[in-house]
């Protein structure tokens, strides 16, 4: 294990895979000499050259569409968009095309591609550069959706995503890029898609989260342990396919569930988790209604203080937990 940032872990995952498989190339805006909007591909052009680190014109539709075309011929493209928000321009290529090609081929072809999207608020980048749109992707059969929260998870999950034969949407949280953690150095280390991780075991409440909110959840959980409230923190890591078993088993144990995500509440992925619990036999174990702590239903404000207020804080999470316990 070696200490590195989330950003370095992502770069290492791509570098290791690209050394092994010459069919992998990266395509995106400013990813060459510039090293990517958030510096994730920094230096990669020196090792792999322009042919495999492709700087593209500002054409999100063509970037995603061309990647899908290349994938069908056996390449394994990795797309990097500067901001998750820009996938709106590439949605036809992703949703109507990449996600459906295998099905429309009668299962005859593979579409191995990864679309890396830096998402989320917290950088003062305002309404059009700060969104969390993961629920959109989860609503499209044919896509896999991954949202890592730690450097080690980012490395292991990205490697699995690159090796996967389906289109994978890989959501990176911008605010996590500079966070550090211990990362496996073994180039064969991977984390399977579709497996949640219990980051903290507990007996009183199941807190289900992913991405950047994990950090806040763990801080709250540690604080509340001092008050003898023991929270089980589940990091979903992959949203599609969803690891329902881990959620259901945990709720059966604790009898209480709270979901935390940064995305706006209405139509957010939290609703799917609530439904998963409510439809399962964990329902009979519930001691209280399920609670969602999510972003408010507005665009992310430009003002720094308002931006913070628009997404869940540690205080919001704590308040939700007290509410769940009738405290």
């Amino acid at each position: 294990m070696k200490e590195m940032t989330y950003s370095e872990a992502i770069r290492l995952a791509m570098t290791e895979e690209m050394r092994k498989d010459e069919n992998i190339f990266i395509i995106g805006e400013d990813i060459g000499i510039y090293g990517g909007t958030f510096g994730v591909t920094k230096g990669m052009i020196d090792e792999f050259g322009e042919e495999r680190i492709k700087d593209a014109p500002i054409s999100e539709a063509a970037i995603v569409g061309a990647a899908a075309g290349a994938a069908v011929t056996g390449m394994r493209p990795i797309v990097e968009l500067p901001f998750l928000d820009f996938i709106t321009i590439g949605m036809d290529a992703l949703v109507n095309q990449a996600a459906k090609m295998r099905y429309m081929f009668g299962g005859n072809e593979k579409v191995p591609m990864v679309v890396r999207l830096p998402g989320g608020s917290g950088t003062g980048a305002a309404a059009q550069h700060s969104q969390n749109l993961e629920a959109w992707f989860c609503h499209v059969p044919g896509l896999k959706v991954v949202a890592p929260s730690t450097p080690n998870d980012a490395k292991g999950l990205l490697k699995s995503s690159i090796r996967d034969d389906n289109p994978v949407v890989f959501i990176e949280s911008k605010l996590l890029y500079n966070t550090t953690g211990m990362v496996e150095e073994d180039p064969e280390f991977t984390i399977p898609l579709g497996k949640a991780d219990i980051k903290l075991e507990g007996s009183d409440i199941s807190l289900i989260t992913y991405g950047r909110m994990l950090k806040k959840a763990l801080i709250v959980a540690k604080e509340l342990a001092k008050e003898n409230i023991y929270i089980e923190v589940i990091d979903l890591r992959t949203l599609a396919p969803l690891d329902k078993d881990t959620i259901i088993q945990s709720v059966k144990k604790t009898g209480r569930a709270i979901i935390v995500h940064e995305a706006v509440k209405t139509g957010g992925f939290g609703g799917e988790i609530v439904a998963t619990i409510a439809e399962s036999d964990a329902f009979d174990f519930l001691k209280a209604p399920i609670i969602r702590i999510a972003g408010v239903d507005i665009p992310i404000p430009h003002n720094k203080e308002l931006e913070k207020a628009a997404v869940p804080s540690e205080k919001d999470i704590k308040a939700g937990i007290y509410r769940l316990l009738n405290k």
Partner: protein, 364 residues
């Protein structure tokens, strides 16, 4: 022929054979053997008869919605004939002739329009992507395949199609600009059949020609008589040769006409005059090619009759082979979507099977 000699801004259209089947440009006339000429003619007949049959099956309620190609056979067959077997075709949804020439089995075509995804289950050596219905977004796949060929240092080219209406979408711009930048070995053919459903070409863009759009992307663009099979072949062949030499993409505007409806859900009498349709019928690509072949003594009446019967039998027997036999199982709804079936689909498959078996789990 040289693309430079046909400036799209001057509306100079590349032609070899006139509408009476006379060769007016002997310099560019391709050197086909009689067997090749008859093969092309037979494929045109196959395409035309297939359209007529499918339209009739659809009207009888035996097929789903259908998009006929009548009038556009030379555009599709002439262009696709310029490819090698290893080259790719990235279709829109009105490219029957190109499919037939590139080796898509008749059975696949019927299955597709019959609503069976196995229709797109191409034989391994047939490099054709499935039908794409969102207008012009498939052009990006064609660019991407071309870029992949460059990375892999393969010498294959990609031929893709869109309609006149397809040039108005942002994806058209992105795909062509991209292909130009990356020198993708991709040939873009616009089947300008004069109408995007009901909207005429003139209302689609203020550009004088569609081919002139190539100028903005720094790539060659040419207008070709799309009802002239020789001109379509030669222009596409030249574009393919350029692409193989590493000189990048080409835009071909094939000027043609959709003699039938947009699809079986459309009624073209609402938006165009009969006189216009009648005028275009005199430029029918099959009629013109047939006259050429007859005048040359290559096609006899007997051979023509025999061929028509053979083609019709082939179509009828293929349709009978698939009609009523969907060949699909319940599992197939679920099994093709991901490389391995995710838990949610396993769960939904099980629920569905239980439901079919009398709902034994319904009270759970």
């Amino acid at each position: 022929m040289k693309f430079e000699d046909y400036n799209p801004l001057e509306e100079k259209v590349f032609k070899i054979m006139d509408k009476k089947g006379k060769i007016i440009n002997t310099d560019d006339m391709p050197n086909f053997t009689n067997d090749q000429l008859l093969y092309l003619y037979r494929t045109m007949l196959l395409s035309r008869t297939m359209d007529e049959k499918q339209l009739s099956y659809q009207r009888q309620g035996r097929m789903l919605t259908y998009a006929p190609n009548i009038g556009q056979e030379a555009t599709q067959i002439g262009s696709a004939y310029a490819l090698e077997k290893e080259d790719w075709i990235v279709p829109s949804f009105r490219e029957l002739g190109a499919w037939l020439i590139h080796g898509v089995p008749l059975k696949n075509i019927f299955l597709y329009w019959y609503g069976n995804e196995w229709g797109s289950h191409m034989p391994e050596d047939v490099k054709v992507l499935p039908v794409s219905v969102p207008i012009s977004t498939q052009l990006q796949h064609a660019t991407g395949i071309g870029m992949a060929n460059n990375i892999k240092k393969e010498n294959n080219v990609v031929l893709t199609y869109t309609g006149d209406g397809g040039t108005s979408g942002g994806e058209f711009h992105e795909a062509l600009n991209f292909a130009g930048v990356f020198k993708a070995p991709t040939i873009f053919v616009i089947q300008n059949n004069q109408y995007a459903i009901s909207v005429p070409r003139i209302e689609q863009t203020a550009s004088k020609t569609l081919a002139q759009k190539a100028i903005a992307y720094g790539i060659p663009g040419i207008q070709v008589d799309g009802n002239d099979i020789f001109a379509m072949y030669v222009a596409t062949k030249e574009a393919a040769d350029r692409a193989r030499r590493g000189e990048g993409p080409t835009l071909i505007e094939a000027i043609t006409y959709r003699l039938a409806a947009h699809t079986t859900s459309d009624d073209p009498t609402k938006y165009r005059e009969d006189a216009e349709v009648e005028e275009w019928k005199t430029r029918d690509p099959i009629l013109r090619f047939k006259t050429y072949l007859e005048n040359k003594g290559i096609l006899t009446k007997e051979w023509d009759e025999k061929m028509k019967k053979e083609v019709e039998n082939e179509i009828t027997s293929t349709f009978e082979e698939i009609e009523g036999k969907a060949d699909t199982k319940i599992e197939e709804i679920f099994m093709y979507h991901y490389e391995t079936m995710p838990p949610i689909l396993e769960e939904q498959l099980k629920e569905y099977k239980d439901f079919l078996e009398g709902g034994k789990n319904n009270d759970k």
